[in-house]
């Protein structure tokens, strides 16, 4: 066999590389994988590009023919062949185009040195699949944003188009007109939601962090049992407790107050769980040193532990804001003046055809808040989730 131990210069040699090279030199491993050359990449990408161009050209030629026929007053040929070629062209164009772009970007931007155990075709397949699924996942969200920018007549045109022909913000301004005419002023709903979200989130953060601190850092009788009960609560949280909670709230005379939403949110098990798992990663020495210096537990918690778990509390804030922002709370709050923003917006969405444009605008407003918060804080969230595992 041809001995070709170093076909390209690795950027940084790891222990594994060195061992591997030694084994190749000793003949213990038969090196049969060639590193991917740019030639191969260029060939494959040109084939994909050619396919894409062909499909798009064919579809457009057909469309042109049909449209000119229509202009001359001829009847539109409604044969399936035309329609299917047209549609296949559109869909394939989008999919292949996105996949190709994705793949090309990876190859240009990824480090030159390829990882071991990664076949070229495997990478290609995975990148293409990722691109296709990402397009499919993003489509409904893109479609809702596009719909909110369409004038009413375009929302009901046949055949419907994904992107608006005449972009307009009328739906948003109409929405504000509708909201300003509502029985309760719009600002009231906003204040309600902001109050519930703010109080619920910070109360939850404080209460859950205190509990998480002692559960993570002190070994006291009952602590482990308590935590395992909280983990079990993760398994049924949600609607199971809805009915009895209503009864409990009515006994506590809290129906139709903000507290019916806020108090259960204080005790959300997911916050305690994530916080405790993250705090376990803090070195014990930090706390012991503070003890030796004579700091009280509250002081340790407040000025040593909390500043060191910033990613975790950001994550808790975000999870809590997401769930509270999206509550419509209609089952426990009856007075119109205490209803939440999402509830008011859902009423507009239910307004039928006449309000279809405003409904699309509502969807966009409701969805942009949590997504924006997530985008801004995703690195902290991911850092926290790294310790989210359930240990045996």
């Amino acid at each position: 066999m041809s001995m070709n131990p170093t076909p390209y210069k690795p950027a940084k040699r790891t222990r594994g590389d060195i061992l591997h090279e030694q084994m190749v030199l000793r003949g213990e491993i038969v090196e049969n994988k060639e590193p991917v050359s740019h030639k191969k990449f260029i060939i494959i990408s040109s084939i994909i590009m050619a396919l894409l161009i062909a499909v798009v050209v064919v579809s457009f030629v057909r469309v042109d023919a049909v449209e000119s026929a229509a202009l001359q007053g001829l009847e539109l040929p409604k044969d399936a062949a035309y329609a299917s070629i047209y549609m296949v062209g559109k869909v394939a164009g989008i999919v292949i185009g996105a996949g190709y772009l994705f793949f090309a970007l990876i190859h240009v931007l990824a480090p030159k040195r390829r990882k071991p155990n990664r076949s070229f075709w495997g990478d290609l397949g995975i990148y293409l699949m990722l691109a296709i699924v990402a397009v499919a996942m993003a489509f409904p969200l893109v479609f809702s944003i596009a719909s909110s920018l369409k004038p009413l007549d375009e929302l009901f045109r046949f055949p419907p188009k994904v992107f608006p022909q005449h972009v307009t913000l009328d739906n948003f301004s109409d929405l504000f007109v509708t909201l300003s005419q509502s029985y309760v002023p719009f600002s009231r709903y906003l204040v309600n939601t902001v109050f519930i979200t703010f109080v619920g989130t910070f109360g939850h953060l404080f209460i859950a962090s205190m509990a998480a601190f002692v559960l993570a850092k002190y070994d006291f009788p009952g602590g482990k049992t308590f935590f395992s009960i909280v983990v079990t609560a993760l398994m049924f949280s949600g609607y199971v407790t809805g009915i009895p909670n209503y009864v409990i709230m009515s006994k506590l005379k809290m129906i139709d107050t903000y507290w019916a939403v806020i108090l259960p949110a204080f005790a959300a098990p997911i916050g305690l769980f994530l916080m405790k798992q993250f705090m376990e990663g803090l070195p014990d020495a930090l706390i012991e040193a503070a003890h030796l210096d004579g700091a009280s537990e509250m002081r340790i918690f407040w000025s040593i532990v909390m500043p060191n778990v910033k990613p975790a509390w950001l994550t808790i804030i975000i999870f809590s804001v997401q769930s509270l922002w999206n509550t419509n709370a209609a089952t426990v709050i009856y007075s119109e003046s205490k209803k939440t923003l999402v509830y008011a917006l859902q009423q507009i969405q239910a307004g039928g055809v006449a309000r279809a444009g405003q409904a699309a605008a509502v969807t966009v407003i409701v969805m942009l808040v949590p997504i924006t918060i997530f985008v801004l804080s995703q690195s902290n969230i991911l850092e926290t989730m790294a310790s989210s595992g359930l240990k045996d």
Partner: protein, 312 residues
Amino acid sequence: MKSLAANYITMKRERLHYDWEKAKRMKMCYLFLLPYALLFFTFFILPIASSIYFSFTNYNILEPPKFIGLQNYINLVLQDEVFLTAVRNTLVIAVITGPVGYILSFLFAWFINELPRWLRTLAVVVFYAPSIAGNAFYIFSIIFRGDVYGYLNSILVELALIDAPKLWLLDPNLMMPVIIIVILWMSMGTGFLSFVAGLQGVDRSMYEAGYVDGIRNRWQELYYITLPSMKPMLLFGAVMSITSAFNVCDVPRALAGYPSTDYAARTIVTHLFDYGFSRFEMGYASAIATVLFLLMILCNKAIQSMLRKVGT
């Protein structure tokens, strides 16, 4: 034998005494735990207990609960056909969206793991966004709208695959597939994030060691190295996806209507809402809640014990 038993009792008593002394020394721990424990007890433990209690009674909030034994459960199984539909639908949704959503979450977390950082971030946002986008699934009521202006209908009519628009959200036979697709779209939630973060944390030197030891492709790497070191995240993700797979409520309500045609899209949770908050038959609703609670806990325990065997 007697001395053994006596020994055991003294041991227990000593243990209890030791714990008590320790607890007294660590009073402040309980102080820290107290606010959370109180709230948790009131809004999570007490509801479960009272829901089990109410399920044996006839209770409508206004009158005091009347004990009626197993009557609620008997009615559920023998008289309430809608409940059986609800159970069937919930199980169908849970059995399909639970495992598929879980596996997809893991696969895509694994696929994007080796992308450059900025691209990975973008991919995480794209995959995770549907699950936090509030009621963005509302857009599916336009995509699947029953008239010809619906996006899917217009495509299919244009393709001449169907000659008349289909009532995706009103036809009892078509509702469930549509709902399942929408739920799958939203299924990359907290578990997905946990997988992404966990995969980033797998020790790189393990892969190098594995390479030297003769691992030759990505699937072997996945099976022998990645999956065993991801076990805690896999367990957490399973809890998250089982819980959300059973808690299906908003999507069928928003898309198929409430109530849906022939109750074809009814789930246990919408049934619960119907009896609890529309008819205020709290006793009956509690029986439904108890059934749901047991289903979720049993399913979770079974899956947990299955997943603990991964890679061992």
